[in-house]
Amino acid sequence: MRGKRRRREAEITEELAGHLERRQADLMAAGLDAEAARRQARLEFGSTDNYREEARAALGWARWDNFRQDLRDALRQMRRAPGLAIAVVLTLALAMGANTALFSMLYAVLLRPLNYRHPNRIVILQAQLTYPELRALQTRLTAFQTLAAQRWADEFTLLDQGAPRRISALAVTPEFFQVLSAAPISGQVFTRAEYDRGDRNVIVLAYSFWQRIFAGRSEVLGRNLNLDGKLFRIQGIMPRGYANLNRSQDASFAGWIPLQLTPAQRIAHNFDLFLLGRLKPGRKLRQANLQTRTIGNQPEFRQPISKPMQWVRYRAAITKKYDQPIWLLNAAAGLMLLLACLNIAGLLLARNAGRRTEIAMRAVLGASRGRILRQLLAESGLLGIAGCGLGMLAGAWMFAGLRAAAVAAGLPRMQHAGIAGASLALSAALLVLAILLFGLLPAWEASRVNLNSAANQTRRGTPSRSSRRILETLVIGELAFAVALAFGAGLLLRSYAQLTSLPLGFNPHHLLMFSTELPSPAAQPSTPASRQRSDLFIQQALQRLQALPGVRSAGFVELSPFNGLIYMNIQRRNDPHLFHTLVNVAGPHFMRTLGVPILRGRNFRADDGFNSPKVALVNRALAEELWPHQNPIGQELIFGGSRPTAYRVIGEAGNFMQYGPFWMRAKGMKVLAQATVYFPYTQAHPQMYSFLVRTRVPPASLEAEVRRIFSQINPTEPLTNFQTFQQRFTALLVRRRLYLDLLAAMAGLALILVLAGVYGVANFMAGARTGEIGIRKALGAENAAVLRLLLWRTAVLSLIGAALGAGLGLMLARLLTSLLYGVQASDPATLAGVAAFALATAVAGAWVPARRAARLDPLAMLRYE
């Protein structure tokens, strides 16, 4: 093919040469001398090169030829200005990388179909049901192929596999496996027949648990697991990917057990059941919801039911609370990519303007406008491909980091996620978009040079008015995107700052917390023996903790801060009104250890025994609610469902934050001052045992000692939630922190891009106005005046950009309402702050070139002209 082509080229050369010779011969015959005839022949023929080009086009070769030529030229240009090429490629790679990584996360968490057969038919009812309600739905819903009931994860202590540890299992009815349409990789799931026979002490293991505890050995089938002293036979093992999807990194998740309901749990007051179903093929979610609502109006159901019962797709139910932040992050990454494209467009435009003379010369020499356009596009295309290629690599690398961070932050479905194939398609689409954005505009602009004026220009780099206007528009756009991004980051930052600076009401430093339980018999309520054992355990534990070197004080409480809440109804004496109140059980050292003051009255004492008068502490919030403007000390409150007992209030304690502020706010509760009553552990039997240790030394250093104490006094139960308060608080905010970090990183990058972009444009503009500045200075303008003149323009453009960005930011901020705390999505102070910061960044970018231009010697500048 190439040989044939070369021959044809040679033929064309020979043919054209023959033509010129014959013409020359004819002209000589007409009387011209040889040299004059040769010149005349050439003149008459016209531009040989041009016609060769046309001839190639006629033969259909031109496209490929030009393409290769364009690539060669583009590479040469890149070698000539490597700084520019590197800047463009790096900018693009960063922006593309961020987009690839974040879109892969979006795909993995929100879009990727679940790993089950026809996952769209699996739906879950957004309501907790009582047993009668559940039965009513199960028997009457017809839109479903299968319906299964499930309870919140049950917790157990695993006793026979090394040190005791807490595990969780989902209690499900046998239909659960049909709903998921899942077969075990080994053994069997439990069937309806076995279930009805009462064969309930079996467990189907989750893959990850099987791998971790049994190293994937298959002979575990048929063996027993000792959970809380009860034996569960291992009956099957589910494939990888079948886990408790609600929590991605639930290392404690062991598997599925048959749902067992005691008669007490079958009554209508106990609602902690969920329904999971597989729709019949072709049935719509809407039909299921209609049916459910009709059935929900019948007398078995609580009247009125708190919220309309609604089925949602399983996937959506799992990822609902991640929707907003993940879309937000992707929107931010898109903005950053746009910003990067504008920035690159600015660089290329300025560079092309510097090449106007060269481009004009090409045009004069006969290159068509399309040809020049294609050539310039080849350059941006090459840069784009290089940038995007690097961007995909960067994306894979960023995604690995992002995945680790997301898994640690508990985002579901990220554990085994990979770069989404779809994200590669997206990258390709973005590449085309990017090249169009930053390539076409400068190329088109450069290709419309005015031949006469440009070719006659001697000064390099004078921009046409239109390219100046485009550059200025780019500055506006960059500012707008950066301000919108920074606004989002600013809002998250302020929320985070609000959350971390909320007054806790206690001293958060040097505070160690952990929980445990007592083995089952002692946990049974209120026999004298179990009470005694419980009291003894607490006293022993506190005594030994107190005796540890480095410990300032140790206290007992049923539910430690940020670990749980129990609400109960209490009453005043002679008042039927029920007060929904937080209830906790504490020991005498709890308040002191936590650092919460007793405001009035006294604390619990050692002599508040089981047989002494019943006493209680209230916090200030409860005191104000129950006895406003009165002294709460000595008042009586009534508590205890079936056997109401009167407790005398002996003291009023300060308020403190008992639980995560977000959660409290979401439930419509007061964050800081939740009404709470405390009972002494000697008079109210705790279900859970939490200890607080205030240390003199770094709290983590005591871990081994503390664990040793409990392995001696309570060897069969593990310590759970072993954390310093700081760790617990950080863990609570870890997802918010991740979103904040990602958005802040992008906003920071955006501001750097603005700085670089404005610098480039200002540098170029200052160069273009050299002559004007020279004249002004020659006429007596001060350096400062020239500096002002140059900066003023940038400031005005930036202000316009910032104003547009404010509008855009306000629109996008609606995406992050669910992440905000203590700050509105339209917070004017944040907006003004980030806009001012972006403006300052832009002016700083323009400062250096402007000052350089202002200081130049006017004579040298005019000579330059």
């Binding site: 033929e11 064309i12 020979e14 043919e15 054209l16 023959g18 033509h19 010779e21 014959r22 013409r23 011969a25 008459e44 023929f45 016209g46 531009s47 040989t48 041009n50 016609y51 046309e54 001839a55 086009a57 006629a58 033969l59 259909g60």
Partner: protein, 113 residues
């Protein structure tokens, strides 16, 4: 040659086909023959001839082969193919109709309207 008319766009192909139909010719010969048969009234840019020739050749309306010219030099000779002859007839036909219509139109007088 200064008062020679520039040829109308699109008519170069027709002229080349006509010139070649009178007997195989090399490029320079085609040029001379066009001048000759138009009695020097039409002139074409010399360089523009070759892209046109190659285009016609690519369309299989002309065929080319190397031969020897009158002064014993190697030259590429073009001759009409069957497709070329058909195209020529078609173009001649439409040109005549156009010329007649243009002629009639330009001869029109006020009383004929």
């Amino acid at each position: 040659m200064n008062d020679a008319a520039k040829i109308l766009p699109g008519t170069l192909d027709l002229l080349i086909l006509k010139a070649v139909s009178l007997g195989p010719q090399h490029g320079y010969g085609v040029l001379l023959r066009i001048q000759q048969i138009s009695r020097g009234a039409l002139t074409i840019e010399q360089g523009a001839l070759y892209p046109a020739l190659y285009r016609l050749e690519k369309n299989k309306e002309l065929a080319a082969e190397w031969g020897t010219s009158e002064n014993n030099r190697r030259a590429r000779f073009y001759r009409l193919t069957a497709a070329g002859r058909r195209r020529l007839e078609h173009e001649e036909d439409s040109w005549r109709r156009l010329a007649a219509a243009m002629g009639a139109a330009l001869k029109a007088r006020p009383e004929e309207v």
